[in-house]
Symmetry: C3
Amino acid sequence: MNSHIISNIAGLIGTIRETGPLIHHITNYVTVNDCANITLAIGASPIMADDIEEAQEITAISQALVINIGTLNKRTIGSMIAAGKRANEINIPVVLDPVGAGASMLRNKTVSGLLEQIKFSVIRGNMSEIRFIAGLSATTKGVDASETDLEGGTPNGIDTAKALANKLGCVIAITGATDIISNGKQTTCIENGHKMLGAVTGTGCMCSSLIGSSCGAVSDYFLAAASGILYMGIAGEIAFEYAGQKGNGSFHTAVIDEISKLNAETVHRRAKIYEA
Amino acid sequence: MNSHIISNIAGLIGTIRETGPLIHHITNYVTVNDCANITLAIGASPIMADDIEEAQEITAISQALVINIGTLNKRTIGSMIAAGKRANEINIPVVLDPVGAGASMLRNKTVSGLLEQIKFSVIRGNMSEIRFIAGLSATTKGVDASETDLEGGTPNGIDTAKALANKLGCVIAITGATDIISNGKQTTCIENGHKMLGAVTGTGCMCSSLIGSSCGAVSDYFLAAASGILYMGIAGEIAFEYAGQKGNGSFHTAVIDEISKLNAETVHRRAKIYEA
Amino acid sequence: MNSHIISNIAGLIGTIRETGPLIHHITNYVTVNDCANITLAIGASPIMADDIEEAQEITAISQALVINIGTLNKRTIGSMIAAGKRANEINIPVVLDPVGAGASMLRNKTVSGLLEQIKFSVIRGNMSEIRFIAGLSATTKGVDASETDLEGGTPNGIDTAKALANKLGCVIAITGATDIISNGKQTTCIENGHKMLGAVTGTGCMCSSLIGSSCGAVSDYFLAAASGILYMGIAGEIAFEYAGQKGNGSFHTAVIDEISKLNAETVHRRAKIYEA
């Protein structure tokens, strides 16, 4: 499987750059600039529109929708639901980034409402967020995964991802030291990336934007999820090699640089992906 | 005309840096940090305030107002109109950046409402956005100009800009591979810039902030529009020369660097501006 | 006093990095990404949540709350008050950044309301903002300190800070060419920093986030305020030394780099702090 999936992930970069899919984001105001720039860097085209009066219309001209609840507020929850429903109607993929799920009743209630009303193609979160969605006890520490949840480690994560993917009928992606992607039948792990990605805000959000960009260019959302995560991981690794010593700001810039320069050859050379 | 206008554009940098005009922005949350930083980099002072309870008051202490509809929402439309009217009353310039005009009914309706109620000094957009405002058929692709609209090319763009400038009594600026600025009587084209500017979000918005900063320092808004666009074009060119190979993130940083270091000598040496 | 306080400030960096306090921000959308990144860079963990339905709950899991009124709007004023009250109830520190106080009735009214209903641990602003809060005549120029207010200079600033600290029973920090920190009894001045910090938006906001991060790790808020300001000043100085010539964008990145690399040894070597 590995060499086959690596080839597909490597090849998808060219497809995104050639087709330039429009990716509608309803996202948070903390990392939105990075989300737009990473979307452009991989070759897709971002549009951010969150007012209820235009959300559905913008979704209708897009190739994928990314919903990110990072700075959730009542004004945009309705827009998320309306846009998600429209995406389902016209059969374009919807990616959910459940930032901070488990950290407040509002986030929990909203995630539940979104899951009830929208069919997602991919849900990407950290271990705490995904455990929360899976109905397991999660000990969220704000928007970062808690130590306790990480202690469970990869084996538990694989089971959680598989079970939740089967339950929701969508791809579940858990990002962390080892990333886990499952559609219930296939499950894959990625060991690219660098822990310094956790020292810059929005690397998770950007990863979701890369998944959205990939979903906008291919109909295999398992492949798309693995692609977005692998792209981010490789960019983080390379960025760390030459910019890590400079500090967080330079590393942040370097991550976007590396996504914009990423090519199939680098993916083939760097990919650390294996079937779980 | 060229050497005269180039001297004026070159000289305006010093005026902005000496007078430090306060530029009120009601703008989108995607690129707002870049808008503030580019305004500071050229020597003006940004203030972002979008609540209806303070918008007019902030406009009243400012030297120019920039209205950007990038992430339009119902909360701020009223603030845009109130601030614009106040700007008209006290006779300070108003710049409109009609981001994504043509992409949704909400944007179209809002642009129409703004044009009815506010007298703008400069409207800056891409070809699709300006064609939409001119009532021509435009095929918007989200917030970027469509290929189809660009095919029409410069000659059509000049006619569109002239006609619309005459109709609305304001300066029309169409940015693209060739930039076109017209006040109906005078029309000028600029061929500075680099296509990599399109790979970073907010370079259009930043250009509008530079136009706003220029408008806040000089009463000739045709000159101000040409200045803002030329500054951005030259910064983009220089940034590409040394940072383009590094990637999108470094290029983004370099554009802001170059605006902060821009001086009259560089404008004289680099300007590619001609009468249309 | 100096060597003692310097040792404490230097040592606090390690404490922040070891304890990783969660810092709840209700802040503006202009500089929010920088606030999150600087919080991570010093070793704390940011969470931005401004909806009234979750603000109190997020405060309740945090170690400090930062309220910044940079882009004030009616939707979030209630959230600020609710979160601040909850912080007071559970006895976690609250930092106020009264951005643009004096520039509009809305800001003035909101600051008054916040001061009436919330007990702050630290208020950090520029001279115009603090003079406004102190009830002195201030001539605000948007969100930057006015020349007139700065002419008063340090001696007046010290009196203002002391008197206001005693009146409000909290630490007052005035940042400028010389920074002044007072809790009414102790007053200290810092002469680190570089004027280029004023050419990048959000360096004041980031300073408040550093103060918040420090407050989340130590119970002496006078020390915390001095620490946040000294960290920012030293980072600005070092950043200027190697990135100042490159321009505003590179300097911006370098400031975040230097906070992420800051250590006790650098604080000991660079600190210019003296008792007033």
